[in-house]
Subunit: 183 residues, 2 copies
């Protein structure tokens, strides 16, 4: 019996969202799920094989003329049932989100205030980049014709990313001001 963790279900779920190869899964991860779930090929390929071994998906090797071989995975009935059960299942308790900036800031009496400010400014820049990336994704979803159920929930998750990132940006601006005043 294989351990079915969240990542395994994420991949299983993507098989129902138009992804049929490890490559497809990776692409979608990097695009649509980027702000709350991201994994590497080293995780994807072994997991897909595992899903097939477990009977949650069926494999077939497709050779389309010139292009390299593709292993196409299709979710099975058993797989769908498992996915549905997981989706509606209970949430585990909130994990602590690690934050390097906060960790460094916590120990910032070991550095001059101006350096601490520079750290927050660097963080602010990253957050702004992230926020812009969200706007780009949002735009691409809204302008695409495929406006299905996945798109609806996709937009809701994006909204989360935007809202939380915006709050973090505001905290940065406020903190920079506060630290500058004290200098």
């Amino acid at each position: 019996m294989v351990k079915m963790n969240h990542t395994t279900y994420a991949i299983l779920g993507l098989l129902t969202a138009g992804c049929h190869t490890g490559y497809d899964v990776k692409q979608m991860m990097d695009n649509s799920l980027n702000h709350f779930w991201k994994i590497s090929y080293g995780q994807i390929y072994p997991t897909l094989r595992q899903l097939a071994d477990e009977g949650f998906a069926e494999v077939s090797t497709a050779n389309e003329g010139g292009k390299p071989d593709r292993k196409e995975y299709v979710i099975t009935e058993r797989g769908k049932e498992a996915l549905e059960q997981w989706v509606s299942g209970p949430l585990s308790s909130l994990p602590t989100e690690r934050n390097e900036l906060l960790l460094k800031l916590f120990f910032s009496r070991h550095q001059p205030a101006e350096k601490a400010i520079a750290q927050v400014e660097a963080y602010l820049n990253s957050l702004q980049e992230r926020y812009n990336a969200y706007l780009t994704i949002e735009h691409s979803i809204l302008s695409s014709c495929a406006f299905d159920a996945d798109a609806k929930y996709g937009l809701i998750t994006l909204e989360y990313g935007k809202k939380v990132t915006k709050a973090a940006i505001e905290w940065c601006e406020h903190t920079i001001q506060q630290l500058e005043e004290e200098e």
Copy 2:
């Protein structure tokens, strides 16, 4: 040469914040750093030993009468230098924060809307608990006499937790309403 990752520095930093045993470090992690860094004893004890091996800390075994033996760690000059360098060093790129709720929500066309709403409500509850925990910590910092430099930065990091959590709470409330309207 030992790999000095963020967690190693977090522990090294705590040695400068009144913590001198593995037990102390764990207590402070669970209290003050709880919202952005948390580790287990299985991580702490081997790391402390490593820090001593590396010359970043000095150990001594204290036997205070009845109580069990304590291994007391004191940071060295070399350790302080390493800590300062790390604190003012560059931030690594923003990691993707994994979020189980968003992952399940993303695949929520596989479940009825009322179940998705229930998931968001459960998440909202956890966030509210977390927010209240922050308020409690804030209160305990403000009412303690030890109002030093660490406390100042500690409050700043707490403010981050509060602001981001509040934004997430608002997103939950908004999303619940939105999903209910569609039913």
